[in-house]
Subunit: 417 residues, 2 copies
């Protein structure tokens, strides 16, 4: 890191030309590298290579001196400017962001888009979010696992799975680590995974992608309320860490982060039906909550809140019933207003119950044999959740398009770059 | 964590029955949970449920008291033993490891295999390795990225890629993040990824899998010697952290870890040819080093060493030549004896040179257009490497089969569980 205290020192810096102005014989360059922006002043015209273009990568040799420029603490008086790579013109998008480009053009030129400091800030914040999640899970004795993404049978029903040929056999891309993370509670008790998963769904929304990053945990001897506590504390820690460690990035994004207040509100599915009833929408117990319904409930609860006690009929086969009422499940979603961020619950650990639930849901227990036999080996009671990292990022950044927080998003129309 | 200081306290513990012995009317149980092993003593026969089996999950209520048992500091005198899940008998493998099972049977029962503390220790160490890598890369200002695993064109030649149908288009599973991580040096300068990648190769060795975890870095303005420094320091930090933080796991594995001495030895490709010549094997400059050759070189250099300055003809199209001699590349492998752990180098950043190299290697520049155009946007000089995490783990654990360090390995024969 350079500073005015190094006045008189000879320095060499490499970076991208962000701006370039001539005033008479003097050329002013602003050059950006990972540490920030520096002003370069070139008094000798011969030092400036011909055809110097914005976003070209240059190496500058010069001396640090004081400056009159308001935005800089020092400037570098250059005796040599060497072009390492010349950027062509015109560029496909304006990487400084003065001219706004639509998201498709930006994604087609994503590498260049990242020279926009607003865009780079998003991914620096994402780095912090990943680091915070791991730090907090490690603190709670969760072990990081890597489950297979190429799987031999279509788990969880098999809808919306990409299939591929695997050495002459049919295989699928995993949609979640659900079955594996449950199995691993037998040996490792508390596990987590942060990884890419795949969904072959023809969705065209701001919150669905075909390839997404999921944060998953599973814990032996935890009930669903215990993993809800983990989730709530994790989300709050992520917000606090971003607020503390990403001040510059939040500044660049002109984003003021509110640390969520604890405890998060909790409403049950039945409370949600009541709220909808008051808004003139009458649903029966067992009806799913559609986007339009969640919009209304999200308006009543604009921040983070848990939506719990869903009907068993709306939940996957592995979710545990409430002991007192078999129709209600030990499950929850974490919502941010109308946006579902996470879904989780207590899991069934008795194989006979799981078999019955599979049949109830029209699934064939035979295609789950590899999974079911693990329940005979001492499966502990366990609970867990999965959270869409990309969705959490949209909440932190304040955008309604998940493509803003994924480097190279994949959707039904987008397979490149 | 329980201790003898809690003598007289009523406690509840949940865990797996590791052993079960009757001495007259008294039953001794050892019960393991994530914190370790506890001895349970049951004096009242009525308290013991019928048909209690090893590896069943139980909840024990009792009082902490002092013990005469040599291996325990305290024992729990139980007034209640509740079965949460009963394990069936016989189990497919012996999870205590007294009876050794072959690796195939163990992988078929991986969840249970992990109740063997030797196996669990491997994956607890893997957790530490991942944490160390991220900590050290973060320290060096590398930003964690997630690149797409579903890609639209067969990069790097396209051999050995799994293909899939993606909404009516042909797509592939990525073998490495190579092209994406290079592009991202434009916007983020220093990036890393730790993720699963895929190789459709019919290999049947102890060091190849179809799905593997790769550690990748790429850094703007770094030459290949700079990223070699990063790699060397990273490996040493990983060993130090494992040694410091995984004492119990290393103990369980009866593994004494040697912290590698720095600096690592460096030999050039030409040195290697000389060494082979002395062993009676005469290769010409440009010949690849086969496994049999690396065995000999690995015997001369049994620990970590760099093998540098490979012929350009043996390297992928993106590798940079040495300025002084175009036939030699700015590249390296990190070896552990005969085992290749990592491969890296300085990359070409001038698009015209890359196009020429693609044609030289019989590849079509047209199928790399999305990648090549990014080089016109101000691509910095850059270097990087990729390291097989699973291979590094085999070195740390001291095994010659990568299946020992992957939870659910995938190879041409193995797609389940």
């Amino acid at each position: 890191m350079l500073s005015l205290q190094m006045q008189g020192s000879h320095v060499v810096i490499g970076g991208w030309i962000e701006d370039l102005r001539k005033l008479g014989k003097i050329t002013f360059l602003t050059v950006r590298d990972v540490t920030g922006l520096a002003q370069i002043i070139v008094k000798d015209e011969k030092v400036i290579p011909e055809d110097l273009t914005r976003q070209s990568v240059i190496l500058v040799r010069g001396i640090i001196q004081s400056t009159k420029a308001r935005d800089f603490q020092y400037e570098i008086k250059a005796d040599d400017v060497e072009i390492l790579t010349k950027a062509v013109h015109p560029l496909p998008i304006d990487p400084i962001g003065r001219l706004e480009s639509n998201i498709d053009n930006r994604l087609n030129a994503r590498a260049l888009d990242l020279r926009n400091q607003r865009v780079a800030s998003v991914f620096k914040i994402r780095h912090q979010v990943l680091a915070s999640l791991r730090k907090e899970l490690e603190k709670r004795k969760f072990i990081e696992i890597t489950t297979p993404k190429i799987i031999g049978s279509a788990s969880e029903g098999g809808a919306n799975l990409f299939s591929l040929e695997y050495f002459g056999k049919k295989a699928y891309l995993a949609q979640s680590p659900q079955l594996y993370k449950e199995q691993l509670t037998i040996g490792l008790e508390r596990v987590f995974e942060i990884s890419s998963f795949y969904r072959a769904e023809k969705s065209h929304t701001g919150r669905h992608l075909s390839e997404f990053t999921s944060v998953d945990i599973e814990a032996a001897f935890f009930d669903y309320t215990d993993v809800m506590d983990v989730l709530e504390n994790l989300v709050v820690s992520v917000f606090s860490d971003v607020e503390k460690n990403c001040k510059q990035e939040l500044n660049t994004l002109e984003r003021k982060l509110q640390i969520p207040k604890q405890p998060f509100d909790t409403i049950t599915y039945s409370d949600a039906l009541d709220e909808l009833g008051k808004a003139g929408i009458n649903l029966n117990f067992g009806d799913d909550l559609l986007d339009s319904h969640l919009k209304i409930i999200g308006t009543n609860h604009p921040g983070f809140f848990f939506l719990t006690d869903w009907p068993m009929s709306l939940k996957p086969f592995y979710i545990h019933e409430k002991d007192d009422e078999a129709k209600i499940s030990r499950s929850f979603d974490l919502q941010y207003g109308h946006l579902e961020l996470s879904s989780g619950g207590r899991r069934l650990h008795e194989p006979a119950k799981i078999r019955a639930r599979l049949i109830e849901q029209g699934l064939d227990p035979a295609s789950f044999e590899d999974h079911l036999r693990t329940f005979d080996w001492g499966m502990p009671p366990h609970s867990g959740w999965g959270m869409g990292l990309d969705r959490l990022m949209t909440v932190i950044i304040g955008t309604d398009n998940v493509r803003e927080v994924v480097l190279y998003p994949r959707d039904p129309e987008r397979l490149t770059p």
